[in-house]
């Protein structure tokens, strides 16, 4: 029951998704749409599970003072600030005591972590309760903002979008831009024209880089742009297609193994 039923479910739903493609009937497409919605909805529960896992891993690092444990506070503060901002919204012209509410929730988080870490649990639990009372007091008395569990305006919270624009985007863009330096260092090693294969790599890369370089001093010769376009659209396409066919066959084979119950690694042990 514990292991057999999941395999049966995998087979039934997998086989249905395969066969519905070959049965273009209204009822088949109806069920197909339902199942796709279900996957998305269950995915959100999985995301909540992931958030809980992140919380427990971070608290565990703090509790056992593992390597770089202090940075786990940063992760948790970022997580909680973003959750609070994502579920609250502005009602009137001003935010009122909203900043005090956010700070008291952050303090509550800190005290709760200290409660699980410290030996003197009573003190930290009392302080947690106090922070909670302050947060709830502001939440119930301040009418200038609301908890967005009641409306879809939660995402219109300007601070939520500000945090996405001024925290997430700069970090993500800078991390990717750093790869330019590491790629340059890798290029130094890879681009030495030691044999015909390395020379082909070097020539193709130089042509494409010159094509996309906006700072060419005398402008880009037309034949260079055409050669680069041809390289991207013909030989590049051919090899990419060979790789994609290989990947596609691999995914199809793996899917078939999963549906037929040959591949069972996803079920874990026990």
């Amino acid at each position: 029951m514990k292991r057999q039923l999941p395999f049966l479910l995998v087979f039934l739903f997998g086989a249905f998704m395969v066969f519905q493609y070959y049965v273009p009937h209204e009822s088949s497409e109806f069920v197909y749409e339902f199942l796709l919605d279900w996957v998305m909805i269950i995915g959100i529960f999985a995301l909540a599970l992931g958030i809980w896992s992140l919380y427990t891993v971070s608290v565990d690092k703090i509790r056992h003072k593992k390597e770089n444990w202090a940075y786990s506070y940063v992760t948790l503060i970022g997580l909680f600030i973003m959750v609070v901002l994502g579920f609250t919204y502005k009602v009137g012209d001003s935010w009122g005591f909203y900043s005090v509410f956010v700070i008291s929730l952050m303090t509550l988080l800190g005290f709760l972590i200290q409660t699980s870490v410290s030996k003197d649990k009573g003190l930290w639990l009392g302080l947690s309760g106090l922070s909670l009372v302050v947060a709830l007091g502001i939440a119930f008395t301040d009418d200038s903002w609301g908890i967005a569990f009641m409306t879809s305006e939660g995402l219109s919270n300007t601070m939520f979008t500000n945090f996405a624009d001024f925290v997430l985007t700069p970090i993500l863009a800078t991390m990717f831009s750093l790869l330019a330096f590491f790629i340059a260092s890798a290029a130094y090693r890879a681009f030495r024209a030691r044999n015909i294969l390395a020379t082909l790599l070097l020539i193709a890369a130089i042509i494409v880089m010159l094509r996309f370089n906006p700072y060419m001093p005398f402008g880009l010769p037309e034949y260079m742009a055409k050669t680069s376009n041809w390289l991207m659209n013909v030989p590049n396409l051919a090899a990419q297609r060979a790789i994609v066919i290989g990947i596609g066959l691999g995914i199809v084979a793996t899917s078939l193994k999963v549906i037929l119950g040959i591949e069972r690694g996803y079920m874990g042990k026990g």
Binding site: Y21, W38, I44, L47, F163, I183, A204, I206, A239
Partner: protein, 268 residues
């Protein structure tokens, strides 16, 4: 903690404060100090990530850990509001929809949407030591549905469509040798280039696949085809490499522009 670490931290904090106050004082708008804080924070995080070029350091670790927390919560909030409130709640009941201020979608089969909620709750049972095995049911549903979906999708898009796009006519608009030689040119849309491109695509894909086929020894004609496959692959890796480098450099230019224009306001 080392003395130099404390001094560095103090200097960076002071610079952050100075930048925030200066931006707040000289920025126009409804909330200059908030705008100033956000721009200074973005600049600080940009520089913190860039500091990794020197070596791994506490400022980089700070930005890295902040990113993990903020991005996880961002994904969850977006998922909740778009999927749960946007897709699920309007189908559950008019009362709950009214509570969430979303319009109720009437339907005869809306009760079916309680099943993913049950599956979702079963998935959360993973946290329970005794009922953890129940989480395998929704997992089996997701794995089975995704496997079935991928089977058809990848068979169609990554295999059948790719093969049919490769088997293209090698003789395009062929009206005899006389017409071919009289209209000979190297234009990208010309007959010669088009025919040559189709030939390269066909040979490139075939030889590329042969290179990845390891069940037969790469000797004789098979080995020669495999060698052509490597050449085509090396050209592709070079082209992809160049393309990626330019993409990354454009991101770097964007970050440096942000630092010098939006933060320091040195360039306009």
């Amino acid at each position: 903690m080392k003395k130099t670490t404390i001094i560095t931290f103090a200097v960076i904090s002071a610079l952050f404060l100075v930048s925030w106050i200066a931006k707040g004082m000289f920025t126009e708008g409804s909330s200059p100090f908030l705008d100033g804080f956000l721009v200074t924070l973005a600049a600080f995080l940009t520089l913190a990530i860039m500091s990794f070029l020197y070596k791994d350091n506490p400022y980089y670790k700070f930005a890295e850990h902040l990113f993990v927390g903020v991005s996880a919560a961002y994904a969850m909030c977006l998922g909740f509001w778009s999927t749960i409130v946007g897709n699920l709640i309007p189908r559950l009941s008019s009362g709950i929809s009214e509570f969430f201020k979303v319009s109720y979608i009437e339907g005869d089969y809306n009760f079916i949407y309680f099943i993913p909620i049950i599956f979702g709750i079963l998935l959360l049972m993973r946290l329970s030591p005794r009922g953890g095995w129940l989480s395998r049911w929704p997992l089996a549903f997701i794995v089975g549905t995704t496997a079935g979906l991928n089977f058809v999708r990848y068979l169609r898009s990554d295999f059948i469509n790719q093969v049919s796009s490769t088997i293209v006519p090698l003789m395009i608009d062929w009206q005899g040798f006389g017409h071919f030689f009289s209209n000979l040119n190297f234009s990208a849309t010309g007959q010669l280039v088009m025919m040559f491109s189709n030939l390269v695509i066909f040979i490139g894909v075939t030889c590329g696949i042969i290179y990845f086929y390891f069940s037969k020894e790469h000797t004789g004609w098979f080995g020669r085809a495999s060698k052509i496959g490597i050449w085509i692959l090396m050209i592709t890796f070079g082209a992809s490499f160049g393309y990626t480098v330019m993409g990354r450099i454009s991101l770097l230019v964007g970050r440096i522009t942000f630092l010098f224009r939006d933060w320091l306001e040195i360039i306009s």
